[in-house]
């Protein structure tokens, strides 16, 4: 988080007389958002670790839950946004790749937060259930969701033209939307048949007092801010990446055209 601070403060000084063109992807809005985000994250750390009390049932381990719930919320939000932007991209795919980039940026942070969710969830599970992993329907679906979107990111990296990348990955994202409810439903049905694995129901009851509820809300807000800030910036970076590829094409085209003058044309007059 320290690095965010550096950008936010140094960007004003970087805009000296020589550089009217900004040398970063930020705007006044994202910088302000970045500062608010840092504040929110720092206070989340303070409330989550220090100010909020231990739970009556769970004890100190409830502190992990703030992280766990915050990240899983963002991960699901990110995947919903990916699906919606993919549909929007296919809807009007003729021109703009913006929807494709938003989908990609959203999926990237979704995968990262899903990994954090699984990590925090495993540690929390060890503390309160005595086991890192349970074959609970929700946990299993989440793991499948994670792998599915790792696959989605791999498809984005397959190469080819920008339009092709957009179309392919949008189709894969929409297929994932088809897949997730099926996975969830089948896993749920499976678990309801096998009652023995209902360890997940044993100690999940948390009694939230006011400060704990506040901390939980703070976690949701803080992680959502991180998500919004990151997607805004990442989407711009991806746009610049695509623009640079186009520039590369311009350069390569000029190079290619120069071959004509370099090679003597066989027996032709121009």
């Amino acid at each position: 988080m320290v690095n965010v601070t550096t950008t936010a403060s140094s960007s004003t000084s970087a805009a000296g007389p020589a550089a009217t063109s900004p040398t970063h992807a930020g705007t006044r809005f994202t910088r302000a958002l970045g500062i608010i985000t840092i504040a929110a994250m720092l206070s989340l750390a303070a409330f989550g670790l220090v100010f909020s009390p231990a739970d009556v049932v769970q004890g100190e381990s409830v502190r992990i839950l703030y992280i766990h719930v915050g990240t899983v919320w963002v991960a699901y939000l990110a995947f919903v946004i990916t699906a919606v932007s993919s549909a929007a991209f296919l809807w009007k795919r003729t021109t703009s790749l913006t929807w494709d980039r938003i989908a990609g940026a959203s999926a990237e942070i979704g995968v990262a937060f899903m990994a954090l969710t699984l990590f925090a969830g495993a540690l929390w599970g060890r503390l309160s259930w005595g086991t890192f992993w349970v074959w609970d329907a929700r946990v299993t679906t989440t793991a499948f969701l994670f792998i599915t979107y790792v696959g989605y990111l791999a498809v984005r990296g397959l190469g080819g033209s920008q339009q092709q990348r957009g179309r392919r990955s949008a189709v894969v994202a929409l297929l994932a939307v088809l897949e997730i409810p099926l996975v969830h439903f089948s896993v749920k049905l499976w678990r309801s048949v096998h009652q023995d694995a209902s360890v997940a129901d044993r100690t999940t009851n948390v009694t939230l007092d006011g400060l704990m509820l506040f901390t939980l809300m703070l976690a949701l807000v803080a992680f959502t801010l991180v998500y919004v800030w990151w997607v805004l910036l990442r989407q711009r970076v991806l746009a610049m990446q695509d623009a640079l590829d186009d520039k590369g094409l311009d350069y390569a085209l000029a190079e290619r055209r120069r071959e004509v003058t370099a090679d003597a044309l066989p027996g032709s007059v121009r």
Binding site: G159, G160, S161, Q163, Q164, D245, G248, L249, A252, L253, R256, R257, R258, E259, V260, A262, D263, L265, P266, G267, S268, V269, R270
Partner: protein, 245 residues
């Protein structure tokens, strides 16, 4: 450049291929760097050029297999930017790969590819006959064939597809003398029947004799050959523009 000269097209006669400053890329490499080319119906155009000049990409662009990145283009009346799918069934491409199934026999392959274009059984037989594959070879597995025989089979598939526009990429490669004669005769009669043919070849003697016009491809661009042969008479009948019947 001769873009302006080529853009002058007789009114009412839509050219089979019209490319204006077309750009196509392979990965990030601009294989076609602003190609302007017009081909009219019944022509046999020879594309010459060094390896990597962009001949193959030009043919694949015209076959609707490579997307148009910049510029504009129309092939057999379809816009390359928006109607790639609908142009494909009317164009036949003989690429570097033969597109054959090695475990199937020669006749099974030709029948399959003919069927994708809706060819009847007798048309498939005729195609096999024309490429000299009707006899013993017809039932041989493609895996067992020599390179030249595979090329013949691939050509027979193309003939059976009865395309309006033939795009041939190095068609002579690997063929023996009779194979080349068969190929040339096939191409000529297809053109006479109203099909248009674009050939990319290094075999300039062979292909040059066949062609009605020569276009040089250099650095991903097209340049009309100066010594253009006299224009062919416009093929008479055959209004539906099909090749061999």
């Amino acid at each position: 450049m001769n873009a302006a000269a080529q853009a002058v097209v007789p009114l009412g006669v839509e050219p089979v291929i019209r490319l204006v400053e077309a750009v196509a890329v392979l990965g990030k490499f601009p294989a076609l760097a602003g190609t302007t080319l017009t081909v009219r119906r019944g022509e046999i155009v020879l594309l010459r050029g060094a390896n990597g000049a962009g001949k193959t990409t030009l043919l694949r662009l015209c076959a609707g297999l490579v997307p148009l990145v910049r510029g504009s283009g129309w092939v057999v009346g379809c816009d390359l930017a928006t109607q790639r799918e609908s142009l494909r069934s009317r164009v036949g491409l003989l690429g570097h790969a033969n597109g054959l199934y090695g475990d199937l026999s020669v006749s099974e392959n030709v029948r399959f590819w003919g069927a994708t274009a809706g060819a009847a059984r007798h048309e498939v037989e005729a195609a096999l006959e024309r490429m000299g594959l009707a006899g013993r070879l017809a039932d041989v597995k493609v895996d067992r064939l020599s390179a030249g025989q595979k090329r013949r089979t691939s050509l027979a598939c193309l003939v059976a597809r009865r395309a309006q526009l033939w795009l041939l990429d190095e068609p002579h490669a690997g063929l023996d003398a009779t194979g080349r004669d068969d190929l040339d005769a096939t191409v000529r009669s297809a053109a006479l029947a109203g099909a248009t043919v674009v050939v990319a070849s290094h075999e300039l003697e062979r292909a040059g004799a066949l062609a009605t016009r020569v276009v040089d491809i250099v650095g991903g661009q097209a340049h009309e050959h100066a010594a253009e042969p006299a224009p062919r008479a416009e093929p008479a009948s055959d209004t539906d523009g099909r090749g061999l019947q």
